[in-house]
Every structure is written in C-alpha cells, then in structure tokens.
Symmetry: C2
Subunit: 659 residues, 2 copies
C-alpha cells in the first residue's frame, strides 16, 4: 500500500528545514531529533491525528504529547503548517522573550500544544493519563449511536524519556490498564546528549514493553512513510497500548548525522548549507514553497470534516441527553453540600475529615475521581460508593496507581489536561518528594490537580525518620502557583475544599494528619480562603502573636490560655492554613491579621521552619523541626521536640522579655 | 542436595516469632512479610552472607540491603541471633523512642544495618551502587593473590519496591553494568498494602528483568530452604546481575495469610495464639530455645573463619602494597592542591570553575569518582584524564548513569555507604526535583555524597520554564543535615570544595551557573566555611546590608557602588554561599556579619525568596523570583525579573526611606 507521494516527501523536508531555520535564527535549540523524527510526525499528524486548528480545545480531538519537549521546533513547524495560530513571525521568534514559540512546548501559551514537556518521562506519563481519561469519559458519556469520546492518544518519546523512572512506571500503569487507544512512537536513534546510547543503556525495548503487556512493532527505516503508516494502522487495531519503535538517524543527512553533535546545538551555517544540498532543498531560510502549504491543507480539510460531524453528533446528544452533556462541559465543582461532620470537641484526624469531605464532594460531582499510590487504606481517599477503574470497568472512579507516585501524579496531570473530569491523587506526605516535579508541572500548566498528602509530621511516630515528613511542607510552599493547605481540624478541611472546588487554574495540595485532632470552636468560620486569620484574639492590643498551622493550632490556643491565666500575657492566635493565599491578600488585610507594630511573634509548626521567617521577622522565633525525627510514640516525639504548651509558653515569654 | 535439618527449620521459625513478638509488644509494625520472607533471609544470612558481628564495617563483608525497610523486625531478629550488638532488650524496645530498633532500619544507629531503608525502591538503588563500588574497588585494589575486594551484594525486595521508578532505573543501571555479584531476592507474595497485587500491576517480572539482561530464576516454594540455597548458588555463578523470584505467602500460617490484612498491623493476641499452634511453637513471647541460638552460632563460626583469613591477607597486603592499602582505608580528601584557575576580572561560569576544581581534586584523590545523568557535556563533571566505568573497565571513574537521576543518586549513596571511595553525581539544577528523596536519604544516613547541579537559575534562558530552577534552592536548603553551596565565582567554588573535601558526615550540594560570572576581588579570601561573610563593608556604620549568593553577588557589589556614588548611601555586602553553615556559626559571628541593629536589609537571589525571610526580617525585602520564568535570552530574562543594578538600588532606597 503506497499512501504517499513526492509532495509528502517535500512536506516532510519542509518540517525539517523550518526546524533548522528557526534553530539557526535563535542560535539555540535541538535540531537533530526534529530532522530524524519529521517523517513519523508527518505521517501521524497528517494521516491520523484528528484535530481542528480553529478549536484546539475540542474535547474529542486526538491528543498528541511530544514527550521530548526539546524537539519543540518540530512541533511548532507542525502547528504552523497545519493552520494553528502559529505564524511565520512566531516561528522566526523561536526561543525569544515573550514569543509563542518558547524553548520547550508550553500548554496554554501556544495553540495546539496539548502538554508542557521537557522534563523527560513526564510527557509519557501525562499521555497515559490522557488515555485513562478517554476510557473513563467514554464509559461515562457515550451512548448507543453516540460515540462521543473515542479519540486516540499519541505520544512521541525518545531514548532519554524511556530511561526515566516515571516513564517506566507509566509503561506499567498503561499496560495494567490495557489502554488500547494509547499509541506511542519511539524515536529510536541510539544517541543521547552524551553520546551513543550504548554508553548508558542496553535495555531491550521490545522485551521491556512486552513484559508490561504492550503491543510492540518495529519500523526499521524511520524515513519509510508507508511503513510508519502501516504500523500506526496496526496499532489502532490492538486492545493493548502500542509501542512503535521507529529506527531513525539523529540529524539525518546532516554532516554529523548519527552523533550527539547534532543533539543540542544549531547546525551552523556551513553544515546547514551542506544539509540543504543533501536534501536538494533550494529555498532560503524561512522560505517554504506554496505547494507545501497546499499539501498540508489537503489533510486539514479531511480533519475539518471529522470535526464537523462530531459537532453535529454532539448537538443531537445535547438534545437527547441534556444532563450528561451539561455534566461533561461543566466548569468548577458544586461545593454547596460541604459541611463538617463533627461537633466542637470531637477528636478526628484531618485525614479522616478529609475523607468525609471528599465523599460529599464526590457525591455532588461525578467528574471527580482519583486514587492512591497503594495507600488507599492509609490515605482514606477511596470514594466509598464507587468502583475500581480497570479494563472491565473504566467507569470506576478509584484508581489503583500502584506504588508509582511519580507516574500517578503525571497521569493525574494528564487527566486534568484532557478535560471533562477532575482528578486527584494521594500518598504519604514524606513521599511527596517522589512526585514533586509533577506538582511543578501541574502548576506550570495551571492545572487543577489535587494532591492529598496524609501522615504530615513527626507525629507519624513509630515508622520513624524515613516516614516522618519534616522539610516537605516548606518544599511544597515554594513551588510557584500552588495552593498548599494544612488544615487545623475538620472545619478547616471543609473550608479548604470549598476553595479547591472553586479553583480551576492551579494545583492544590492538602496536607493532613494521621493522628486525631480536636475540632475547634475557633475554626467554625475559618477564613481559609484568605490563607490566614485571627482564630482567637487578645482582649486588648496583643502583647504578641502565636502563629500555627494544622495540628499545632490547638497547641497554640492552649498556650494562649496558659499565657493569659498564668502570666497575664494577652496574645492573639493566628491560624495559617495556606501561606500562598495569605500572601495574595491585600496589604490591609495582612496588616489587620499581623500588625506590623506587634513584633513579639512565635510560630509553631512541626516542620522545617524556613517558611516562617517572612512572618516572625528578626525579633520573633519559630518552634519547628530541624532534623529528621525519630521512631517512637507520636505524642512522645512531639513532646521531645518541644511541641508542648509549656515549651510554647516558655519560648513566647523569652521573646517577649527580650523585646 | 539436602543442606538443611529440622534445626534450621526451628531457627527459621524463631525469626518469625521474634518478629511477631516484637511487633505485638510495640503494638505497631509489619508482620506479614517477615513471616513469609524468613526462610529466604535465613538461607541467605546463614549459608551465604559473609560478615563479622564484631566488625560490622568490615570492608569486604557481603552487603545486605533490606529494600522493604518496613520488614525491619526480620532484620533485627537476624542481627540478634547472629550475634550483632542487638540484645533481647533492644528487641523488646522495638519502635520505642531512643531504641536501637526503630520502625525502619537506620544505618549507623543499629550495628549490622548496611543501609537505611523504607522509602521504597531506594534500597534496591543503593544495593546497585554497592555492587558498583565492589567492582570498582576490586579493579583498583586487588592484586595477584590478593582478592581483597570480592564480596557479593544481596538485597531482598518486594512487590512494592519493584513498582517504583527508581527501582526500574536501577534494574537497567545494573543490567547495563553487568553487575554479576549483585543478587536480588524478590519476595513475591502478590499482595500489597491495598490488597491483591493484581489491583495495581500485571507486569511479568521474569520478562522485565531479562529485558535488562539480568539472570532470572524462580523459586516456586518460598519455604523450600534447599531450593532457595540452590538458586543463590546458581546466581553466584552468573556474570549477570541475578534476580531470584521467590514465591511466598504473606503472613504464612497465620489466620489471614495471603491477604493485605497481615501487612501493616500486629496480628493481635488471638491470631498470634493460632499462629503458634499452626507452627507448633510452644514458647512464650520473647522466649527462644537455646538450640536456636546454637544453630545460628554454628554458622557464625564459619563466617568468623572467613573474616580471619581476610584479615591475614590484608595484613600481608599492607606489607606488600602499603600505598594502596593506605589509600583504601584513608579518611577524607586531600585538598592541598586546590586553588583558583582565574584572575580577578576574568569571566568564567561556576560550572566551569567547578569542573576545574574537580579535576584538581580528582588528581590528588583517586578515591573520587562519579558521573552524570546524561549531562556530562553540560555539567562538565567528567574527570578528564579518566575513563568510563563499564564492564570492560570497572576501574574507570566516569559513570554514565543515563537519564536516570533518581537511581543515580541512590547508587551514589550506595557507593558511599560501601566505603573505600567517595562518589558524586550531577544533573541540571531543575532536575534535582527528580532525585530529592535520595539527597534526603544521604542526609539521614550521614553520607558524604556530593550532588552537583548546574544551570542554576532563570539565566538558563532559552530553554524556558521547564528548565529554569526557581524553587529548588529553597527546597535543598530545607533538607536537614545537608550543606548547600551556591558559590558566587571561581574563588568561592574552590573554597566550597575545601569544605566538602573535609566533610565526611553529611551530603553536600554544589549549585553552579551556566552563564559566565566575573571573578571577584572580594571573594579571594571568601569565608565559605562560615557560610556567609562580609564581602565588601561600608565605610562606617552601614546604612543597610545587601545580601546575595551566586550570580547575584557581583550585582550586589555593583549596586553598592552605585548607592555610594550616586546616593551617598553606605552599605555592606554580605555573600551567603551556604545558609546552613552560617546558621551553625556562633551567635557572635552571626551578629558580626548581620548586626541586629541594622534592619535595612535587601537580599538578592534569582530564586524563590522563602529562605531569606530569616535574614531580612519584617523591615527588609527580597528581590527573588515567584513564578516559573520564561524562555528567552538569559540576560534579558534577568533584567525583566529585576536583577539589575537600577532595580536593586531602587528597592534598597525604598526600604531605607521606609525605615
């Protein structure tokens, strides 16, 4: 079967030279892989990928994730020739400040970019999440005669991607979930940044993927458009996820082809000239023949027809199933039914309170789903009246991610990138380390991914230092565009979820206790949405301020009482469930809560003290944790580290007397 | 071949019941896996593992890493019965505050524990590092007739371990390096915390490991001591790393055997009683028959003989090869030859300066080796006159870890745990996220691992937000027991390495620039060992203080000049290469550098501002970065984010006038 003509070959070369041209102009970029990958990308995009450049958020479009984001020049070339809003001027501004064509693809910045990629392996993980979302929504929304959701998810990955642990986890996650509509093309060029691939790996990709129950195909010549097309057609037919290993030559037809020299730097004027000769490409930089644009346009028309048919089907669907249609396209979550399950004085851990609130939220919001990295029974994050997401039941809302924290988080980002549902994930707080980079990528992409971390302090106790988070809270609070919540009790948990339910442009983190905490009167109207608030005020002008979050709020309140009764010291207690939200408040509110004139300030939090410097200043202090904790009874450890009323009172009086 | 008797079976049961007893007493712990794993652990420890309980740091002992650290009760039982300094009282104090038997095994706390484990997958990764160290040292130090280093590295891993990305990376790293003396027993019980393993994975372990060129064996009955022994014997003969999958039943012979119920909680009184009956174990809790101790002692004697023979060989070796013997056992590094390669005013990036200093250090210290996660050409961390570590040349000191940041860091920890050499690793600063948990584990274990992160700020430029570190510096500074250095120029780089070369009890992080920076006069005698110092003082009492690190120090110095000349403002500039070291200084020194009375303070650092709150207080300010940066020219980005003399001067004057 010969599907391709000389015009196709010319179009492939146009992709190559546009990539080369923009990298030369920018004097920066990665030309080798775009040159090698252009044929497979062309075949995939033109013959298979369904999209509409005028509606780049179309829900049932095929998804495409360029996992090796450093090959961005190729993606921008594809977007340009396929009619997305990426002009030749944009192309010429590659890697320039404020351009639509940054060094690595950025979701929401450039039309047609389905995911921000660059941190290797995570693109693959997000693609797996997109394919999970597709299956889930298909079960939830498709009706007889209405295959509303039935797209493919494609990704191109490279040798570097496949070495990353997150990709390895994602391979297994996809295999286990039998994601037949996930098709991954592997740009297998046997070269990495540092040289021949053999320097760093000798893994057998075919055997590796088959071990995880993937379908595997090999395309021996990565310039053979027909062979690539046939492999993709085959892959569409399998019920397993598919890997197509496409052997390519990095920097094909350039003087340094097949070596790492063409990986990460512009080819340079002389080598570009030789490459033009090798390809018989007579055009000037940024000059592409009209016939190439016509060639791309021909495919674009087919795609437009598919899009139109889907829109017509969806219009009928909206008539016949208005509730489902509305549900599928809704924005934000319904938070009207959220309220605390507990009375003041009851003892309940914030992980349990979190679970209860999540059940309420899930009942009102069928679009909410998620899972745990094999810690459902500890995190308590399974949706109780729901089933397991698996091949026999993709409608299930509880995802067993396995002990794969990083791929879990990447997949959740992929689900939220996909749209149509909202996903969360959970693990122990100390293992937020394992998936931190995925929180970053959620924040960078403005995704409403929710990360739930239980067992949030030394009070974890017996499991000891390897399981006691200390510095993670500070770490999470430094990631830009993330809202971190450490609720003090069941009331603040509910208030936090009210904020999360109305957030659609950034990730949220909930940090919850393993141990029981008292439900407080002071938190009943907790202003969690303002990040910090006066939980208990001094009678007059405060002698000082106690600041606390989470499990330490009740301790601060008890210390206040003691300071008043035993020492006639009049303090204010400020609860700080979210530093990020507080820092976003108007200066007047911040001054109201933390008056500049009151310099006697003591922060109490069972974690690394770094974040509190900004609030306590040079005259205040922090009772925090500066080592890794120890194994033993949680309450005993808390006491040993100074989290007692006596110590809080002592420390406060010390500051007060010094002041 | 029948190697085992009824006495061995009794000893296996003693391991089981000691584990059960301590978990019952602690009312906390994980009994299921110790019960299921006891046979394989017994066979391995008694029939194969070479060690001396009186010299638990013996260099050529076989290493043992219990990767699933939650099975610690089994390890403590092994240590006790094998004569290590773990008494019955220690056993009874399992998981109690201050005990020698914490919830998860802790290196340096408990004699005979070769690695701190618990964070899944990392134990496996450390074992791979140990096996790399063994091969490297064997080539470096063995001489004809003196097989000084020829031990095995053993690890027991579980289903959870093998799902982790870091383990997946480690599998490939070991396979690629053909670590024939690495033997991993896989406790394959088909159950994880959340239930049947099939809920989260369906990977074929045999195929998976074979894809990475491991030798694979299956032991179908994990209670068959002879079969286990035969498999280990076979594994010792192969030149590939070996996986022995041992099928076990979690909580074997307990009422809930084979289910997740026995994973993470004590069995409970009633079930313990039934289990005693099932095993015909008539003894009271913490009562173990003398015959069991005798049985263990019999094996211990063989091991003592092996130890004695090695010591005699080493004594001869010391006579014949005194230099090599001294080198092998030396502590710390020789830093005498370190000095800057640059004159004041030259422009050189700190990554290049770092490379030069590393070459000097490596020349004087043959024990130093390490590698990069496929970024040698960017990190510049290859040792120039050296070769590649690989099967044909294990003496090579440059390790090509591949794009496997997490396993790289875990392996480096394993190398440093092993002893006899010192290892470093390197990648881009932004990907410190991928391996953060391994830095934590280095710190927790007091290992001198060195982590080199180049491309340290927004000044990375064209690669854009996915490659521009922002919050990583704050993250690294919050990990307890880590010294983080962000040198301002080539002089501070040298000074930082002088500190690192003399540090043997905690990890160091070097953060280096991609862009060129001026070599400064003010840093010639940089007091990097004190963490912060006055780089340029005010003529009189300072009107204020500028604080800076890394690439921003020269900016601060230029701003000082402008403030003096144009505004007659007299400021001090404090260089802060290491906050951790500064915070460890005596209060008097800290007051000398940052006088409490001087409250007009401005910190300048191209990173998240969180760490500076502690120094600038409520009256100061920070010029930092609170989003993810952008793609473009590095200098242009720096300017856009306010890292200009004009903005520093403006901000400083604003604070000064407010004060």
């Amino acid at each position: 079967q010969q599907d391709f003509t000389i015009s196709d070959q010319l179009a492939v070369n146009a992709l190559r030279f546009m990539s080369i041209d923009m990298i030369e102009a920018a004097k920066s970029g990665h030309p080798g892989s775009p040159i090698g990958m252009a044929p497979m990308a062309y075949v995939l995009w033109e013959k298979f990928l369904n999209f509409n450049p005028q509606d780049d958020k179309w829900l049932n479009r095929d998804r495409f994730v360029l996992s090796g984001g450093h090959c961005s020049a190729l993606l921008y070339s594809l977007l340009h020739f396929n009619g997305f809003d990426v002009s030749l001027t944009d192309i010429k501004n590659f890697r320039q400040l404020g351009s639509k064509t940054p060094g690595h693809p950025e979701y929401q910045l450039t039309p047609g970019v389905d995911a921000s990629t660059g941190p290797l392996g995570q693109g693959f993980g997000m693609a797996v999440g997109m394919a999970m979302a597709e299956r889930h929504l298909a079960v939830q929304y498709n009706r007889p005669g209405y295959p509303l959701i039935d797209h493919y998810t494609y990704s191109i990955v490279g040798d570097g991607d496949l070495m990353e642990g997150v990709a390895e986890e994602a391979i297994n996650l996809a295999g286990k979930n039998r994601l037949g509509r996930l098709i991954v093309l592997y740009d297998s060029n046997d070269v990495t940044l540092d040289g021949p691939l053999s320097l760093s790996t000798n893994e057998n990709a075919a055997a590796r993927f088959k071990a995880a129950h993937w379908d595997y195909q090999l395309v021996e010549d990565g310039t053979d458009l027909n062979a690539i097309a046939q492999a993709i057609r085959n892959a569409q037919q399998t019920s397993q996820p598919s890997l197509i290993e496409v052997k390519t030559i990095i920097g094909y037809n350039t003087p340094d082809e097949g070596t790492s020299k063409v990986h990460g730097s512009p080819l340079g004027k002389q080598n570009v000239a030789i490459t033009r000769e090798n390809y018989g490409w007579p055009y000037e930089p940024f000059e592409y023949p009209t016939t190439v644009y016509q060639q791309f346009a021909q495919y674009t028309e087919d795609k437009a027809r598919n899009y139109q048919e889907w829109q017509e089907m969806f219009a009928d669907y909206q008539q016949e199933f208005p509730t489902a249609a509305q549900q599928l396209t809704r924005q934000g979550m319904d938070i009207a039914n959220l309220s605390s399950h507990h009375q003041v004085g009851e003892m309940v851990s914030t992980r349990v309170a979190n679970a209860e609130t999540m059940q309420d939220l899930a009942a009102a919001n069928p679009q909410l789903w998620g899972g745990s990295a094999d810690l459902f029974s500890s995190n308590k994050t399974a949706l109780k009246d729901n089933q397991i997401f698996r091949p026999a039941n993709y409608g299930g809302r509880n995802i067993y991610f396995g002990v794969r924290e990083f791929a879990m988080a990447a997949a959740v980002n992929g689900i939220n990138l996909h749209g149509g549902s909202t996903a969360y994930c959970s693990t122990f707080m100390v293992f937020s380390d394992y998936l931190k980079s995925a929180i970053r990528l959620a924040a960078l992409q403005h995704l409403p991914s929710v990360f739930i971390f239980t067992h949030d302090s030394l009070a974890v106790g017996e499991d000891g230092p390897t399981h006691e988070p200390v510095e993670q809270l500070a770490m999470l609070r430094t990631i830009p565009n993330v809202q971190v919540f450490r609720p003090a009790d069941a009331n603040e948990v509910v208030a936090a979820w009210r904020v999360i339910g109305q957030t659609d442009d950034r990730p949220s983190v909930i940090v919850a206790s393993r141990q029981n905490l008292p439900v407080l009167a002071e938190t009943i109207n907790a202003a969690v949405q303002r990040g910090a608030y006066v939980a208990a005020d001094a009678a007059g002008v405060p002698d000082g301020i106690l600041l606390a979050s989470g499990s330490e709020l009740s301790l601060a309140l008890n210390a206040k009482e003691c300071l008043e009764k035993d020492f006639q010291v009049d303090v204010r207690v400020v609860s700080v469930p979210s530093m990020e939200l507080f820092n976003e408040q108007p200066a007047a509110y911040r001054e109201e809560v933390l008056p500049d004139a009151v310099r006697t300030r003591l922060a109490v939090e069972m974690a690394n003290p770094q974040p509190w410097g900004q609030y306590v200043g040079l005259d205040g202090a922090v009772i925090g944790v500066d080592d890794f904790g120890m194994s033993g009874n949680g309450a005993a450890i808390s006491a040993k580290y100074g989290f007692t009323v006596e110590n809080v009172v002592d420390q406060f009086l010390t500051i007060l007397r010094k002041g």
